[in-house]
């Protein structure tokens, strides 16, 4: 597990993203982000002269499998660092394993916050980095009556709870709420859309994830609703999902994320070009892919210093470290082990890209327990 002697033996790391099942659309891109970063590092001669060797398993969108593969990685493959997980249920399945066996999980996905573990580095957005501003922007642009639609598992329930607080504190209301099964079929959205048409909200806030995202937006389009009047707003619908549903279907809807492909800076241009060269010109990048990519780079920078994959050394060293990510400068917040990220809100255009309608002036500190937002989420 810990080899710090003079050797050219590879640094072995675990990678857990689903390439099959209903989460494959987005997790496949996270896998690509991870492997792209690893290849780039290896092309430059590895870390302290040793290449990084990924051991990749496909948990097939099944939460329990994530726990079992995490155990396999740590016990059989002798790995201490794992990059992986999209859904909160899969993260919660891996958590006891890395905590008990003292590994380090790098988690590149936005989530509902309210978690802290010494054995996880969180590099996706928490609610104060996306929901707060999204709520503000939606109220400014569209109105105060919200309708919630989500997949039925931890993340949607929890982020809706937080969103509800934000909306109420800002004088808005939640006029309807529907949940569909995780991995729901197309037909599940017909009654939801009928309900929405009847209730006539100003905004639909969606926490639907995976393949069902396509069905939701398509059902919306089929119902003849107008995104200029009542858009769907989401924290999870990225370029990858928009491509899956069709550019015409996605046009006009909003997403809050730290990263969009359209972010204008040199680091991102290089990143996008390299990605397209490798995977094809019509392959878009997205926030989860970007987080997967930059977290491997943060890992590499850290390992260069520690020259050991021992979890406590890695963890101590990574805290406070900075990296020039495609989204802009990011850092690992030493208080929470979460990344300080940028807040952006984008509106999808006909090309399947997001036009940025809001951008934070600098990166926003992670506040997973919303301590800085205790009472006053006042609409300003």
């Amino acid at each position: 597990m810990t080899r710090s002697s003079n050797t050219s033996e590879p640094w072995r790391v675990g990678v857990l993203f689903s390439r099959s099942g209903f989460m494959a659309v987005i997790e496949e891109t996270q896998l690509r982000g991870t492997l792209t970063a690893i290849d780039e590092i290896n092309d430059k001669g590895g870390i302290n002269g040793r290449p990084v060797e990924p051991i990749v398993y496909d948990p097939g969108s099944d939460s329990r499998s994530y726990g079992l593969y995490a155990k396999k990685l740590m016990v059989e493959d002798g790995v201490s660092t794992i990059f992986g997980c999209y859904t909160s249920s899969s993260r919660k399945a891996v958590l006891p394993v890395v905590e008990r066996l003292d590994g380090l999980l790098w988690y590149p996905t936005l989530y509902e916050g309210f978690e802290f573990s010494s054995n996880v580095i969180y590099t996706g957005a928490t609610p104060n980095q996306n929901s707060v501003q999204l709520c503000r922007t939606l109220m400014e642009l569209y109105g105060t009556r919200f309708y919630f639609v989500g997949s039925d598992y931890i993340y949607p329930r929890e982020s809706n709870r937080i969103m509800r607080e934000l909306i109420r504190h800002s004088g808005g209301s939640v006029v309807g709420e529907s949940y569909v099964r995780l991995g729901a079929e197309r037909s599940a959205f017909t009654p939801v859309m009928r309900d929405i048409k009847q209730v006539r909200p100003d905004v639909i806030f969606s926490t639907v994830v995976g393949e069902a995202t396509t069905f939701l937006y398509q059902a919306y389009a089929d119902m003849g609703l107008d995104p200029k009047v009542t858009p769907i707003a989401s924290l999870t619908t990225s370029e990858a999902e928009v491509r899956a549903m069709g550019f015409d279907v996605g046009e006009g809807h909003l997403t809050a994320a730290p990263y969009f492909q359209g972010v204008g800076n040199d680091s991102n241009t290089t990143f996008v070009n390299r990605y397209k060269k490798r995977y094809g010109d019509d392959e878009p990048t997205n926030m989860c892919l970007e987080a997967s990519y930059f977290q491997v780079n943060v890992f590499a920078k850290t390992l260069e210093k520690t020259n050991s994959m021992e979890t406590n050394l890695m963890r101590d060293s990574v805290m406070g470290s900075e990296f020039d990510a495609p989204q802009g400068g990011v850092s690992i917040n030493p208080v929470w082990g979460h990344a300080d990220l940028w807040t952006r809100i984008g509106r999808a255009n006909r090309q399947g890209q997001f036009d940025i309608v809001y951008e934070s002036p600098s990166s926003v500190k992670a506040d997973p327990y919303l301590l800085g937002y205790g009472r006053c989420l006042e609409y300003s």
Partner: protein, 220 residues
């Protein structure tokens, strides 16, 4: 634990520890052993002389002992405590996720070959038994393994509870600020109102807070 019994005894007038453990100490030991009674214990090991001795010691402690051999592909989960021979592939035979054990686990090291600490780490075991099983080593193994297992479980329970409390505190905060605004009362009065409602209705303060938040939503 035996030491503590002896220490109690030494508190008496007869001076320090040379004296053999008398009746009160014996009773204490017996009381301590009572926690072993009817513990469901599996022994997954060869039934050689050492295995027999371990079984016998456990039976003497009044445990319900079941012997299982050859080693099953999956360690059964219905026991309180499992003694299991340490083999290369033991981690794969443990059906639970490390960190969420369903039984206390003691691995048996037969004392041959090189000691593999990584393997023991990977089993996330609660104790190690070294043959031969003496009354003393068996008792300490059972007591420590069981103690660690239960402690771990309590800690996990505490974390769950803390998470829940955190959510409740947020609800109470919000309900309080609603009451302050709506009823034009001080923070203290708002809090006392919540507490009184909870006591009168025999529900938690969190439940009252959530009800207020929900009804405010309905009314506004």
């Amino acid at each position: 634990m035996l030491n503590m019994a002896r220490h109690d005894h030494a508190q008496g007038k007869r001076g320090p520890s040379q004296k053999p453990v008398g009746r009160p100490g014996q009773q204490n030991v017996q009381a301590q052993q009572k926690s072993f009674w009817d513990l469901n214990v599996a022994v997954i090991a060869q039934r050689d002389d050492d295995g027999e001795r371990l079984m016998r010691e456990l039976q003497r402690l009044r445990c319900n002992v079941r012997h299982i051999w050859p080693m099953p592909p999956q360690i059964p989960v219905q026991f309180d405590l499992v003694f299991c021979a340490l083999t290369e592939d033991l981690p794969q035979r443990i059906p639970w996720i490390p960190g969420e054990p369903e039984a206390a686990l003691v691995v048996i090291d037969c004392g041959e070959g090189e000691l593999d600490l990584q393997l023991i780490h990977n089993c996330a075991a609660h104790g190690v038994m070294h043959y031969p099983a003496t009354p003393r080593s068996t008792q300490t193994c059972v007591a420590l393994a069981r103690g660690h297992f239960l402690y771990e479980k309590r800690l996990r329970g505490r974390i769950d509870k803390l998470d829940e409390n955190l959510r409740t505190m947020r609800s109470v905060e919000r309900a309080k600020s609603l009451l302050i605004r709506m009823k034009d009362v001080t923070e203290e009065e708002a809090y006392n109102y919540l507490r009184r409602q909870a006591m009168e209705r025999r529900v938690t303060i969190g439940a009252v807070a959530n009800a207020i938040i929900d009804s405010h939503e309905l009314l506004s």
